[in-house]
């Protein structure tokens, strides 16, 4: 299991491995939105929490297909399935590796992008907290979508289509936390919900993902 985690992280940091590209994408998106929307603080500030969360979600989404597709292509996945690891564990580890290479950098870099989008200062800690709580769920759900589409050529967009509706509750609560944080409103309820979703997802989705993977390996 640890060997798998180390390998995935090592692959991500190798040339072309895509480490940090999630952050870069997030940066570009945060930079693009003002171009599309216009630069005034009055227009930007109210939508900043939402845009930041949508951006984080898209940055996650773009790298999802790598979770299994490459391993499937080069045959590693077949070999992993015959290895003495439970497939559920392998799925969870791969989702974890995805989170470490994509979600974690986003969490750490989020305040910078908050600045770009004129997010009020007092919302920053909440932005970081909500991302830290929510992104593991995004990675895990993404792994599920990736497992479902892995056999299919060009699963890319289909993957997005399947995964995005699953992201909605996380997105709603995450953005709500940040927005309430910006307004100084109480955030206990959405925080609880978000934590609950993440826990549930991390506990149960590996089973579904492993089942889907087994079907696709047939």
């Amino acid at each position: 299991m640890i060997a798998l985690l180390i390998r995935d992280l090592r692959l991500a940091t190798r040339a072309g491995g895509g480490f940090g590209l999630g952050v870069a994408f997030f940066l570009i998106l945060s930079a693009l939105v003002p171009f599309g929307v216009g630069p005034d603080r009055a227009t930007l500030a109210p939508v900043a929490p939402g845009i930041l969360w949508v951006g984080a979600l898209l940055a996650c989404l773009l790298s999802l297909d790598r979770i299994f597709a490459l391993d499937h292509e080069d045959g590693s996945l077949d070999l992993l399935a015959t290895a003495p690891l439970p497939l559920e564990g392998a799925v969870a580890i791969k989702a974890l590796a995805h989170w470490i290479t994509t979600g974690l950098p986003l969490v750490l870099a989020a305040p910078v992008f908050g600045l770009l989008l004129q997010l009020p200062g007092q919302a920053m800690p909440w932005l970081v907290l909500s991302l830290a709580l929510g992104t593991p769920a995004l990675s895990m759900l993404g792994a599920f979508g990736a497992a479902i589409t892995v056999g299919l050529r060009r699963g890319g967009l289909l993957l997005s289509l399947l995964v995005l509706p699953l992201y909605i509750p996380t997105l709603i609560f995450g953005a709500e936390i940040t927005r309430r944080g910006a307004e100084g409103a109480p955030i206990a309820t959405p925080l609880l919900f978000l934590a609950g979703i993440t826990l549930g997802v991390v506990a149960l989705i590996p089973l579904a993902a492993a089942a889907a993977l087994r079907v696709n390996l047939r």
């Binding site: 060997a3 180390i6 390998r7 090592r10 080069d74 590693s76 003495p84």
Partner: protein
């Protein structure tokens, strides 16, 4: 000691049986070579034995986690070096001496080369070296010598011989001669699922309402 027993096995691919009625058993120290024309169903049969797809009928008796499968794709990461690739599989399969495996397949000189920068035959050798660190008694090999030159084929035959001598077994699908005199050869052609007869019925879904 019998490691693998296959009884009256039928496998299907794309909803259609490919071979059926296949039966054999594999004892420690034995190698079995499966032959048959292209498209007969050898790959399907091997995947089924490796547990990657369910059989359409029949039984496969095998101890859990006793099998190492080498498919056509080698499962190599081109960004990792040869040694790193091997290390990973050694750790996943719990053990195995990487240096010895590399030496056995004559890959020491390439140990620090990224796997993506190997030639076709070198990649294949690396894929086969993985078998040595998997420490599994049964090797299931699908056309293992594709792209290998004559010297490498001989070297690999030696590796298989050692494996058998240590009480292992090997099940190999191939079209070319491997130079393994001790191996039994089974031609799968007679087991082709016959069309027209009931036995060639589409597998599953109430036999396509026959």
């Amino acid at each position: 000691m019998t490691l693998l027993v296959v009884q009256d096995l039928a496998v299907s691919r794309g909803g259609l049986r490919t071979v059926e009625g296949v039966g054999f058993s594999l004892d420690a120290g034995q190698a079995l070579i499966l032959r048959g024309p292209n498209g007969l169903g050898k790959t399907t049969l091997l995947r089924c034995i490796a547990g990657l797809q369910p059989p359409a009928a029949g039984r496969i008796v095998i101890e859990e986690d006793s099998l190492a499968y080498a498919a056509h794709a080698d499962g190599l990461k081109s960004a990792l070096t040869v040694a790193e690739n091997m290390d990973f599989w050694a750790r996943v399969f719990g053990g195995g001496d990487v240096a010895a495996a590399l030496a056995a397949m004559d890959l020491q000189a390439l140990a620090h080369r990224p796997a993506g920068a190997l030639s076709a035959g070198q990649k294949r050798r690396l894929g086969l070296a993985r078998l040595l660190v998997a420490r599994r008694p049964i090797w299931v090999l699908d056309e293992p010598t594709v792209s290998l030159d004559a010297a490498s084929v001989a070297r690999f035959a030696g590796v298989i011989g050692d494996h058998l001598a240590q009480g292992g077994a090997a099940l190999i699908a191939t079209h070319i001669d491997l130079g393994l005199p001790q191996a039994r050869v089974q031609d799968l052609t007679p087991f082709r699922a016959r069309p027209g007869t009931r036995s060639a019925r589409p597998s599953g879904f109430n036999e396509a309402f026959a």
